[in-house]
Symmetry: C2
């Protein structure tokens, strides 16, 4: 490090990959019922080699003059034409063999965009971009099953959690389920981070528009964490994080709900 010149050492290519989440609203079967949310994430069908025609996370190469966060935001904007409310790094993925094109390491991010945002899918380098419903569960043997579905397309990846001796637990891909590169592991890491954040109401507001009902907020948390909680207790817990408005929902087949804002 004493007399360093950047020409002396080989350099990796650096990318940012982003796991963009939103809630897809699920239409109720009954006119009186409210719509619920299903956690979904954005995947892009690769047009070129390697992993041609496989589904992959949006992402791209770091350019000179930008930070890695700038790079991630730029890529999200290119794919969704939306500036997200959240962006959190979930770590570097740097296994030497992770990309057959060569030495390419990636900083992965979690991002969340609101349900009402425009999510036009464009992009030069994307043959196709789609939102996939997410299911992520641990089975009896302790390994994790990641299931991503979009209409009749279903990707099933299987991962195991490796607790290294350094307290860092990483996911190891047993079956990529057709996902490109190590993206199944990145998605598993992202889901774990998202669920951790949802526990103390970190990300849940970002899925909703500015004004929302407390039931909508609860549905977000339940969709992310795949649990169900009693509404009375949920309301008590978030009461300190929201402020009332004097507006109400209208036209549903039941008692109108007060709209709240994030505090």
């Amino acid at each position: 490090m004493k007399n360093y010149s950047t020409d002396d050492y080989p350099r990796p290519s650096v990318t940012a990959d982003i796991v963009v989440f939103k809630l897809r609203s699920k239409k109720p079967d009954n006119f009186r019922k409210d719509s619920h949310g299903v956690l979904s994430l954005l995947l892009i069908r690769r047009g070129g080699h390697p992993y041609k025609d496989c589904w992959a996370l949006p992402g791209g190469f770091l350019s000179p003059g930008e930070t890695i966060e700038d790079c991630a935001l730029r890529e999200i904007r290119e794919e969704t034409s939306v500036i997200p409310a959240s962006l959190m790094s979930i770590g570097m993925f740097s296994e030497p063999e992770r990309d057959p094109r060569g030495w390419i390491i990636s900083n992965a991010f979690v991002s969340v965009i609101g349900s009402t945002e425009e999510t036009q899918q464009s992009g030069d380098d994307a043959a196709d971009a789609q939102w996939f419903d997410v299911s992520f569960e641990q089975n009896d043997e302790g390994s994790y099953l990641l299931r991503l579905s979009h209409n009749d397309i279903v990707l099933r990846a299987e991962l195991s959690e490796e607790k290294s001796r350094f307290g860092v637990s990483a996911f190891v891909i047993r079956d990529s389920g057709g996902l490109a590169f190590d993206h199944a592991a990145i998605i598993a890491t992202a889901l774990t981070a998202l669920r951790n954040g949802a526990k103390d109401f970190e990300f849940i507001f970002d899925f909703l528009p500015e004004k929302f009902t407390l039931t909508e907020l609860q549905n977000v948390q339940e969709a992310i964490m795949n649990i169900s909680v009693l509404s009375a207790n949920f309301r008590r817990k978030v009461s300190g994080l929201v402020t009332e408005t004097d507006e109400y929902t209208e036209g549903a087949g039941h008692r109108p709900a007060k709209l709240y804002r994030r505090k």
Copy 2:
């Protein structure tokens, strides 16, 4: 990304910087009193430009064939000849202007080594390596003061916390206090991560040898978080995380303490 060749894009140099913590034991003034611990971290005096003679974090360049974690471990081993128990990534630092030598981005890590470990200081590229006592507090105006001291050497950095609109809060350096590069911000981020981890007893065991007393464990947490808790309550909270041995401390001027192991 369609027809990518790694030659088409400019590439940054990538480094790993590590904030290595340990506890320095503070001798008691009275033979009956136990020794307490002071949180300290490893800095290296730079022998070459830029920032010649400034203090900097240990770290170095990512080499082909290794992961960024491998790189961090290698650098720690080179500086302390110890394989640490903990290694946690705290994020990428990628401001384009952060290094005057050129486009160099860094993945920062927190690491902890036990008090009893050998910490011989060697290293080709280090003119000098020393352990600095740490103090990190928020003042009345809301900015953070980082104070690092080793004998008569005292570094004082001042930082403010910038809450970006994406929920990611980063430290901005107001005064580097003589630390090289953006290392004051990296250290502040590391301390925040360490304190968060200490809250739920994440890292505290790594500071101690295999067998320890509960009071020693409590001293670790208090040194890291700069608080003091009642021992009765501390014992209750960690009781689930440790197992008794049938050994006791000897020779102190007071009742011997039972030794415990991490569960």
